[in-house]
Amino acid sequence: MKPRRRVAITGVGLVTPLGRGLPAVAAAFGRGESAAAPATLFDASGFASALAAEVRDFDPRPSFRAPKALKLCDRRTQLAVAAASDAVADARLDGTLAPEELGVILGTSGSDLGAPELSRAVDGAGGAAAKDVPLFARKVLSGLSPLWLLVHLPNMTGAHVAIQAGARGPNDTVMTGWAAGLQAVGEGAAAVARGDAEAVLAGGTDSAIHPFAFAGFQQAGWLGGDGFVPGEGAVVLVLEEWERARRRGARVRGEVVGWSSGVVDGDADLERLARRAGAGEAGSAPRRFAGKGSAAAAGRLFAAHGPFDLALGLAAADTPCCVAAARGPWGESAVVSVRTAPSLPEGAA
């Protein structure tokens, strides 16, 4: 078996409700800002809470090399393309790789399936089509744009990021709820470590600001509860083979030193995952890490849901290393261990 290769983080793209890019987001964290405000993307007034953390004033157009593709991209995908474009620019990656050496692995979840468009088409065909499937098949489909489904397939997110970034390497979509973004980072690091790709654009994207997501959150009893606000955003990292990154003089922001994922049921499972992540699955020997009670760190971070956990860890640049962890409501979990730039071996950064 080939030895596993080291994995550098050479680019970061953040498109979040707290701002765009690492400095803006870190500053907003530092000020203790909240992005929660009444939702504007749809009328949420009927739900237990109408608060949402939205990415305001978001213009996806400059991030698209071919803006015609915008009509095929839902909000999740637009956020992901923007974050990936920022990450590629941050890493100065353009032109340093052959297309087939660059992969895309993103975590995401379901969309609203174009509910407004779908309901307009059902209305247009007469209300009966809503409960009569043969009628739906005959009438509604002819009133729906032929692009409808293409916009809402979950894997289209990774496809459009790949198209816009010119990435023809491994392309994967992870859909493990709130663990998906981090798991995608882990899978991306693994793909680089084992040599399937020289670099991977890895991260998560989602927009939970639509009626289906709010309905699900309300059914679960979270909406209007303490501290839970639906949000949206995308985080994409450039994960790059270590030696290649050094040779081209890339700024190394960190190293993925380990990761793990699994289904957890209780603290013992969680510790097992954190230990596995700390034990350097991606190939290096994270000595500082193993002894540092990474399970405890993971436990703390498990309290924070969503795709921003890793950003949190990276933003704290004076932290020598961190564990980012996410746990979904059904137990899927992912843990990623990152050594941040100040603690990297000399000459690496």
Partner: protein
């Protein structure tokens, strides 16, 4: 609906579908060569035109039947294409390569092709059944 109105609305549809400013969508622009359309965009444009003009556009409408009975041989195809070029103005016939093949046909579709088609379809005497 007069030709001018059809043209103006059709150009608007093509501009929106292909994400171009209106002034790039000239009558002689090839949807593929000049405006970057891909196969999926033809489906999209057909659907948008159906909605805009309240008509149904059958699949393969533009070249339907054009090659019925023509053997799959370069000379026969070239001869048929030459005949089509005389019979059907409004396509970018000058863009055919030196050894034309059927595969090049979509490239010949221009904005004028679309407007001509709509004008025929919307003429009172040829109203769809």
């Amino acid at each position: 609906m007069n030709r001018q109105e059809i043209e103006s609305r059709a150009r608007g549809v093509v501009a929106a579908a292909l994400d171009h400013p209106l002034d790039r969508v000239t009558l002689d622009a090839s949807l593929i060569d000049d405006l970057g359309a891909e196969s999926i965009d033809f489906l999209d444009i057909a659907f948008r035109l159906e909605t805009e003009f309240g008509i149904e556009i059958p699949e393969d409408e533009v070249w339907k039947g054009a090659f019925d009975g023509v053997p799959d041989d370069a000379d026969a195809i070239a001869a048929r294409l030459a005949q089509l070029a005389r019979e059907r103005p409004g396509f970018a016939w000058d863009r055919l390569g030196p050894r034309p093949s059927r595969r090049e046909l979509p490239r010949l579709i221009t904005v004028r092709t679309v407007v001509d088609y709509l004008e025929r379809r919307l003429a009172p005497e040829s109203a769809p059944a």
